[in-house]
Amino acid sequence: MSVRQSLLALLREGPRYGALLKAEFEARTGGVWPLNVGQVYTTLARLERDGLVVGDGTPDDEGRIAYRLTEAGRAEADSWWLAPVGVAEPARDELVIKLALAIATPTVDPYAVIQTQRGATMRHLQELTRLKLALTAPVDAPPASIGVDPELLVLEHRLFAVEAQLRWLDHAEASLAAQSASPVVQPAHTVPTGGTP
């Protein structure tokens, strides 16, 4: 989905052929998500099938066909820029599942799961921070252009996401500790000890 929308967004700036779309996409996203040319052309073919782009017809000297947006394609690209990206992603994160299972599994210590994960995640955050510092060097000059470089923009998104995982782990640990410190209350819907409905 994001490749499709990204190609439409790039074509909104003018006709382009596939290899150029690939190069521009990669440059503008800091090279974090490499595309292969085949993927670009497959997507272009689908966009053409759906009436959102059209080939210019005449190949250039090197046999490349440029694509441009149709009316419908422009409308689609415009609405993508205007609308927020969906935020209600389905949560099927391995760590979430692992910790949820750990809490419910008597033979596993959820604190140990949290601690092991937190160490690993923290180390990863340190590595990302070093990458960021290398990008923003020299250190003497206080950051003036943070968030402008696409590579930095993408890297910082990752930094915040990893930080969020750490905060969630801390919170889960604190909640567990608070819960185990207070007496366990049986939920009201526990199976009654006799009689049938």
């Binding site: 210590d109 140990a112 690993a120 340190q126 921070t129 510092l133 250190v139 930080e163």
Partner: protein, 277 residues
């Protein structure tokens, strides 16, 4: 690591006595070498503030040894302890760092003046400290004429003026937005890269990640510590190309760091609950 500026060895700090005694620190060992920045994280009440007070010789351990530049804080007379604090240790708090009626340069020079140096000498050192941080234009401004981020950077300059090599920072970015906070961290990091020893207490993991080592405290104990990284092995610029013959792709290990040296006991036998790490 040689040249340890701070060494805490099996440190205990108990507040109160009898049944109401609280073990704020429960056998903590920690070192910070020159050129090193160590971050301390942990929930409220885990002992972070106590640790910082002991490291800054504002408080003394109930048991164990805290050494600053090789001097045990417990072995000094009060006057010598005060001198040690004044000459060796700088502290940066979340706020209320600068004296409002003094300019940036006067604030920075104050510790030197208190230590008996001449005003002109203190001024010269203060201006030099500001220059090193690229903050020359702040020298004659009063705190209320500076932004929060500028005040914190001035506070770091003051913390490390003169012969002081140990800077203790207690949530120095707490009141700042993320970009301004990073500017403050950049200054702290640069001072440590320049040879200072830094101990940073923070609850923001993203900021702790600027440190060489991150120590987790819980209930007064160190429960985890990311190991020190070696000398900077990372390329310092984005266009650094790998040595000939080396693949240009980054190593795949970045997402799967090595397991901690002492992995906590994780899985128990069926029928028994694994012991809490």
């Amino acid at each position: 690591m040689s040249d340890l500026v701070l060494r805490m060895t099996d440190v205990y700090r108990v507040h109160g006595s009898g049944p109401t005694a609280v073990r704020a620190l429960d056998g903590v060992s920690l070192t910070v070498a020159a050129g090193e920045l160590v971050a301390v994280m942990g929930p409220s009440g885990s002992g972070k503030s106590t640790l910082l007070n002991l490291a800054g010789a504002l408080d003394l351990p109930t048991a164990g040894v805290v050494e600053i530049d090789g001097q045990s804080t417990s072995s000094l007379r009060p006057a010598d302890l005060a001198a040690l604090r004044r000459r060796r240790v700088g502290v940066v708090f979340q706020d209320l760092n600068l004296i409002p009626s003094l300019t940036a340069a006067e604030n920075i020079g104050l510790p030197l003046e208190l230590d008996g140096r001449r005003v002109s000498e203190a001024r010269r050192a203060a201006v030099g400290a500001l220059h090193e941080l690229g903050l020359d234009e702040l020298a004659d401004r009063y705190p209320d004429q500076m932004s929060g981020g500028q005040q914190q950077r001035v506070a770091i300059a003051r913390a490390l003026v003169g012969d002081r090599r140990l800077v203790l920072a207690d949530e120095p970015t707490g009141a700042l937005d993320s970009l301004t906070g990073e500017g403050v961290l950049a200054v702290l990091r640069a001072r440590c890269d320049g040879g200072a020893a830094g101990l940073l207490v923070t609850h923001e993991a993203r900021h702790a990640a600027w440190a060489d080592r991150v120590v987790y405290l819980r209930d007064g104990r160190v429960v985890d510590s990311t190991e020190a990284y070696g000398a900077p092995s990372m390329p310092r610029g984005r266009h650094t190309s790998p040595p000939a013959g080396m693949p240009s792709a980054p190593p795949p290990a970045t997402t799967s760091p090595a397991a901690p040296a002492s992995a906590p006991t994780l899985v128990g036998q069926p029928g028994e609950r694994a012991s809490e790490g």
